[in-house]
């Protein structure tokens, strides 16, 4: 499916008028995007490293997961909203950028993995889950989100 129509629409939208005309607004939104990335990354790392039995071994993993999931959701919403705004400023450039699409695929995979696999699985008592399954979940999650952050950073260099 060709998404060109969406990028063309975004490029001429009211949002693009603001993001292109006001560099200061774009920069501020960009810093919100980065701050949300820090929050999201911190929650992912804390939760997943606990699942992998690397961090906070004496704190039940259920407690760590419960406390990090809420903040993950908040950070994700801020990241997506600020991301759409940033995207509108350079929509046509991003349409031809391979790192942007690799980030979007990573993001979709990460959100799917988090809400469809990780969260439902971890809602049950963790003692009932094979420890290797927990480690696999944690490792996979870290890899997915790291790829999202890395490809996002590389958009700026391409």
């Amino acid at each position: 499916m060709d998404l060109l129509f969406f990028f063309e629409w975004l490029d001429t939208s009211a949002l693009a008028d603001i993001s292109k005309a006001y560099g200061g607004v774009f920069a501020v939104v960009e810093t919100f995007h980065t701050s949300a990335m820090v929050l999201l990354g911190g929650m992912i790392l804390t939760g997943d490293l606990r699942l992998m039995n690397v961090l906070m071994r004496d704190i039940p993993s259920e407690v760590v997961i419960r406390n990090t999931e809420k903040w993950f959701g908040f950070a994700l919403v801020v990241m997506i909203l600020s991301g759409i705004f940033m995207m509108s400023a350079v929509a046509m450039k991003l349409y031809y950028n391979v790192f942007f699409f690799s980030k979007m695929v990573g993001l979709a995979t990460g959100v799917f993995f988090f809400y469809v696999i990780r969260k439902p699985l971890l809602n049950q008592e963790h003692a009932l889950i094979n420890p290797w399954t927990l480690k696999l979940i944690g490792g996979t999650s870290i890899l997915i989100w790291l790829s999202v952050a890395a490809s996002g950073r590389w958009i700026g260099f391409s």
């Binding site: 920069a27 911190g42 004496d58 260099f157």
Partner: protein, 191 residues
Amino acid sequence: MLNELLFRFAQWLDTHQWSTGLHESYYMYGWVESTHVLTLMLFLGMLVVIDLRMLGVAFKDTPVSTIADRLDKPMMIGFTVMVVTGFVLFYAIPVRTTTSIWFRIKVVLIIAAAINVFLLRRVIKKSGHTWDNDPVPPKRIRIAAGLSIAFWTGVIMTGRMIAYDWWDCHKEMPYFMYWAAGCVNELAAYE
């Protein structure tokens, strides 16, 4: 005087072949900068978890000291990588970075965050961890945690702003801005 010294030091660094090589290297500079940004998640990500606990909005059932102690090591690993890559990035573009108003504000904010941590540790030591298990710690601890988040958010913001050239020395600016950014040549032209 200080501006002059910093500027001469930056110019001296700029004469190094390694500095130019790093700046002009497409992949190496990108890798170092990406590592610097991605390590934010390790260092500040862990710090945010500790601060949120001290604000009383996360991990309410876990003692503050337990959270701080367990996350200290990965946080310090992240901090070390950030500092090393930060110095390398500075080394790659020393003159422009030294005369960037954003970089200067960033350094001030990092110092402010360090003082805040120092004072917080003193308060924690003095209070003898009497509130360690409290779901919501005392007000002054919450203020320090809030300040910590604010300072580090400022560091992220100003760090990102360094990339923008709105107030670079070659732009026309008021005298104060030239002074604050340390634009030595432009200041000399004023006098």
